[in-house]
């Protein structure tokens, strides 16, 4: 039942607040930028008037003036892999808490990240987080040249100048090899992710290297692409081959879920006849139908680290790029027969 029904669509500016409050526009601005040297009375009066008028400082104007948008560009895709939505949500949430906004871009089948970039840059983002897809190193250079720091999440590109935070994928692969061998498995297989990703390369490399160190040479490599369907198909091929594996390590969880369903379909008993291990620890791995043993990525820490690296470099463009690898942990569930 307020007296002042605002039907007007016109947006309130600091000038109007200033006029109503009987101060200069600069003062209004200072009130909202928390300038310290303000008398309490002025400050309170301005705040009151601003409240009545429904005034909010225009962030776009502020951005232009300060040369800082407080916007972070986030490029994310592959939302069908449950890992990424969780990552995206966490990034958005955390950045927002810290006072930053997220401009979201998705790199689809057709539009490469490189194609997206001019649009990202036009909005003067203060920093860039790439959650999926890779930036060509030339593009990375171009972005960095403009003083916009870049952090790659869950992938890395040494020498590109971009910082990166990733799980220690090779170690994770080694850990899995260790555990599977120790539990007495003898015939191994690895279902790959997309072969051009550091994630896949490192997991595979760590796994195979450790197997080799343990004198195991019997490991089939079956191509996949980080999807359920590919995992299902690959496992089906493996399990119907002349010499099926008794342990399958999958490039990621969603692939492992596909592999488990293939085993179920073929009536291969898990974990008695077959152990399946994934990588990520997505929520679905905990579902009763799967109970997936996996390498958990330290998501919270990775996100925290990414944001820290990025914001440091927003503050100080001269900082050198950093690659950071955080160790994963094995989560023992029912899909693999492991020693305790």
């Amino acid at each position: 039942m307020s007296q002042t029904k605002m039907i007007t669509t016109k947006r309130v500016t600091s000038h109007e607040v200033a006029q109503q409050a009987g101060v200069s526009q600069s003062t209004v601005s200072r009130v909202f930028s928390r300038d310290t040297r303000l008398s309490k009375t002025t400050s309170e009066r301005v705040m009151r008037v601003a409240g009545e008028l429904g005034y909010k400082p225009n962030a776009i104007a502020r951005s232009l003036s300060t040369q800082r948008t407080q916007i972070i560009g986030v490029v994310a895709s592959y939302m069908t892999n449950p890992f990424f939505p969780v990552v995206l949500e966490a990034f958005t949430q955390r950045l927002h808490e810290l006072g930053w906004r997220v401009l979201l871009f998705t790199a689809g089948k057709s539009n490469d990240v490189d194609v997206l970039l001019p649009d990202v840059l036009a909005y003067q983002v203060d920093g860039l987080i790439i959650v999926t897809a890779t930036l060509s190193s030339q593009m990375t250079r171009e972005v960095l040249q403009r003083g916009i720091p870049v952090v790659l999440f869950n992938r890395y590109a040494p020498g590109s100048g971009a910082s990166a935070v990733s799980c220690a994928n090779d170690e994770g692969g080694r850990m899995v090899a260790d555990e599977l061998v120790r539990a007495g498995h003898t015939r191994f297989a690895y279902i790959t992710g997309r072969p051009d990703t550091s994630t896949n390369v490192d997991r595979q490399k760590g796994f195979l290297e450790r197997l080799a160190e343990l004198k195991v040479t019997d490991c089939l490599i079956e191509p996949g692409d980080f999807t359920y369907e590919a995992g299902f198909a690959a496992a089906q091929r493996l399990l119907t081959s002349s010499r099926p594996p008794d342990a399958i390590f999958c490039a990621n969880d969603i692939t492992a879920l596909g592999a488990l369903d293939a085993a179920r379909k073929l009536k291969v008993s898990v974990p008695n006849e077959l152990s399946v291990i994934g990588f990520d620890d997505i929520p679905m791995g905990q579902w009763a139908a799967y109970d997936l043993t996996t390498v958990r990525q330290p998501l919270e820490d990775m996100i925290e680290a990414s944001i820290e690296l990025l914001l440091e470099r927003v503050e100080n463009t001269d900082l050198a790029s950093v690659l950071q690898f955080l160790p994963g942990t094995l989560v023992r569930r029912g899909s693999a027969r492991l020693s305790p």
Copy 2:
């Protein structure tokens, strides 16, 4: 091996391009805003110089000047329900194609959408899409008052002034009732979603109403919350009760997957002893382990309609709000015993 190694971090402005090209800054601006009345030669020269200098118009400055940011605020949450990431990705992709940017906000457990809103507004978004969570009607009014149109996706709030696009959830519920009765089921159950959502209310209402019309009164209502875990628990309760249902309709797919896993655990044979039907048609429903019969939401059309409603109202703030309901379609898979 280009001669002009740009090490500078300073951003190029239209003034510099103008100077290099020997024209006024206005002309440079016109070239990039595709002003028609420009001589081809000037235009080309400016473009060439701009290219050499790596000039991109500053969208923030443009926004301030035009009073249009070309930014759409999107509020999305519940990324653990696979339905939403897909929606978010589609929205982002499509809006980008149409020349709009997406500022992403997530409403977490703690931060209500209402709390987020001042930050959304500060960035002068031209429109707002709410994919999850509901805006209080007071907040909706406030946003609309500022001339910012709002579209609710997959929920609606009549009288709030916000437009909305939703699946025809009641019809969907009716359709499921029809099919289940026709196939001879006799003991029904509905596992709910969160009770305060229009989505849940309408699906439940349609289902029960149609059952009543068909003279079926035997329908248990078991509370859930749109999650796998709730679906699992609810189905477990139902199936271990004294008079277990032979057909369960679930408020959404992820709930249905939980129900299916509960059935599997309890060795209830699907679809022989039990039919389970979901709502959404998320990718996982197609997985071999589930093969879920469900009501498919016409996602593409819903997104297209949402964007159209929104952009129309960005152009013309006076347009009245509209509620739009698009029919879902039954997707017959293996989790329900239905007549052909």
